[in-house]
Point group: C2
Chain length 394, copies 2
């Protein structure tokens, strides 16, 4: 005999398109705008070397032993300080260290979602969040969006009319994939709606500090008076994804269940890895490092925008993100970015087709382009190739 | 308003007793036989320092970037070689690196278990496996066990009569919590039964190499002709838990679904951490390191057995494990190790009450005692205190 049947949650789930593209695009001759990788040049190599050297010289068994599920206390303390700079006053017990903020998505779904429960998402939204939530049998409601983000009155209507809406999932700042940012007024209006219902608002903020504007967007957690906002932070985009560390900030009713969930997932994050990032933050290196990488990423964004202006034919539009890693490009409605993908790869340029980012899998004429990972000359060359493919297939 | 209702899977789930005990027993004056921690003295500090120094000196951005979900290829290659020494011939594609073998438990349940599906477990069995499987709505069938382990004919009867049995979960060598080992003949008999049914046998083997006997117990994966065995290995007990790394060895139908599951859980394990352990294995350090720590653990086991002989009153029995980290101690049937626990903590000694290790929560007169973590003088003192508490409450 052999292998039994898979769980229902595996039905129709395929490997993440983004992860498969990551593999495909590891071929050195491909210019990949597909992944969401930070630039390898952005990592603070010398500072991390200095910290690793110090930790190695003073290595104690405690850094190599099992640790508390909630996280390594010195790192949680640094996260508390970091959140204070964002106007969020929390205690160490409000912080859970996770294996990337991706794990936060898994743990909150595990904590709240029964099959058939509903999650309100932006349209489009982060692909891997949809995949994670689907694993728990979540159904999605796409919230109508305008230039300022999710429309508060529409959100209110959905919450008033739908049952079993447990979570709202948003990336308010420099969204993946659209690059869109929710305005401050809209954030406040959304929070007023949230407070009317029994619902958790997930504020996923991995790009929040990758900001190429002087505009200030207070995080929604800073407006949270009822403990309903679950804030996900990540070190992956601002320091390095190499240690697989992120954090969840939430009130006790949310965090306590996520901690129980984490116990069954991986017990705790690497204490050694947590000690590296705790020391990075403790040394006060983050603000200057952000200045440096934001200048680099801003230059790359500007270069991509300029090259798009210069090369793209009429009828193609794209977003002008104020931060983050992604542009969102729309082709004429009759074109399919899925159909175009292999032709683009033939020309040695890659992107992610837009339909993966919609809960319902529509529409087909958009694509996500990353501007952080490629070198400047490859940004120019890649956009030129992309424009060629588009022109040839219009 | 506020927080919505939790998912059904959270009903009745409390924090892991073992993890809570870990916290309690971090008080320095408690002698803890409760956790399953390897001894901090057992970590190969100088070798790890040397490797960390080398990796730091030659740090590349690739070690700090996102990696493949399946794992860092050099580490997977080392695992292939390690498995070959156990008579298991697999390829790199049969290896998935996980965040401790704990994550393997989560991923296999995610892949196969619908609410109401059944998992056959040893009685008693690993507490955190039960908790993880419960999160997916698994029901348990406790397999009858004799001195040689799960009885093959009884296993056959269960599989023949029960529907929706997806998984069999076993720790064949030096089991947690009982210290019991399945004999070679029994392993073969069990494998014959497994081949008759559509079922996956999980062979959890974190203690397999912590062996204090010349007896040889081939792993069940080495007897697997049908791809039905999923083998979990861990670096936590034999090198250090500090990097949170384990591995799953399985055939494609099993591993492919676990990889999809891992994508939604944490994308990938830390490449840097994987590089540390890959280098440790590549340098060929494991065999000598195992000799060293097995000599230490054997001495601790012997000391604990000797002190138990000298101090325990009539009517108390315990196992004599040939490896691993744990003894299983049974009091007279009328006594409850739960009732005794706080009295033991008052005397500054801790253990884990046995009922947590039973799927059905029975019986109440056993306890798990760890002999790897305490120093020799504390082993003696702790067992003496434990004997006192037992005598005072018989």
């Amino acid at each position: 005999m052999g292998i039994p049947s898979y769980a229902d949650r595996m039905a129709g789930v395929s490997g993440s398109a983004v992860r498969e593209i990551l593999k495909l695009t590891q071929q050195p001759d491909i210019i990949s705008f597909g992944g969401g990788l930070p630039s390898a040049d952005s990592f603070p190599m010398e500072d991390l070397k200095s910290i690793l050297k110090e930790l190695t010289d003073n290595l104690t068994p405690g850094l190599l032993q099992y640790g508390e599920t909630e996280g390594y206390r010195p790192l949680r303390e640094e996260v508390v300080k970091l959140m204070a700079t964002k106007g969020v006053n929390v205690a160490v017990d409000d912080v859970l260290i996770t294996s990337g903020s991706q794990q936060g998505l898994d743990l909150v779904a595990k904590s709240f979602i029964n099959p058939g429960d509903k999650i309100i998402v932006e349209s489009p939204t982060y692909l891997a969040a949809l995949q994670t939530f689907r694993m728990y049998g979540a159904e999605f409601i796409e919230a109508p969006v305008d230039a300022d983000g999710v429309m508060a009155e529409e959100l209110d209507k959905i919450l008033a009319s739908e049952e079993n809406v447990k979570l709202i999932y948003m990336i308010p700042s420099f969204q993946n994939p659209s690059g869109r940012t929710v305005s401050t007024e809209r954030r406040q209006a959304i929070m007023e709606v949230v407070r009317k219902y029994d619902v958790v608002l997930i504020e996923d903020a991995p790009y929040e500090d990758l900001k190429y504007t002087d505009a200030v967007y207070p995080c929604m957690k800073s407006m949270d008076t009822t403990g309903q906002v679950l804030y996900f932070g990540s070190f992956s985009k601002v320091i390095t994804p190499g240690f697989r560390l992120g954090y969840s900030i939430a009130s006790e009713p949310i965090l306590s269940r996520m901690i129980i969930g984490k116990q069954t997932c991986d017990l705790n994050c690497s204490v050694f890895s947590q000690a590296v990032l705790a020391e990075f933050l403790k040394r006060g290196l983050l603000p200057d490092h952000l200045k440096k990488i934001n200048a680099e990423y801003k230059a790359k964004r500007d270069l991509m925008l300029k090259t798009l202006e210069e090369t793209m034919p009429e009828g193609i539009t794209w977003t002008h993100p104020e931060g983050g890693l992604f542009l969102w490009l729309e082709l004429p409605a009759h074109m399919s970015t899925n159909d175009l993908f292999l032709k683009a790869v033939e020309k040695k340029v890659a992107y992610v087709a837009g339909d993966s980012f919609y809960a319902a899998g529509e529409p087909h004429n958009a694509m996500r382009i990353n501007f952080s990972n490629a070198t400047p000359d490859k940004i120019v060359l890649g956009v030129e190739k992309l424009a060629e493919v588009i022109k040839e297939n219009m």
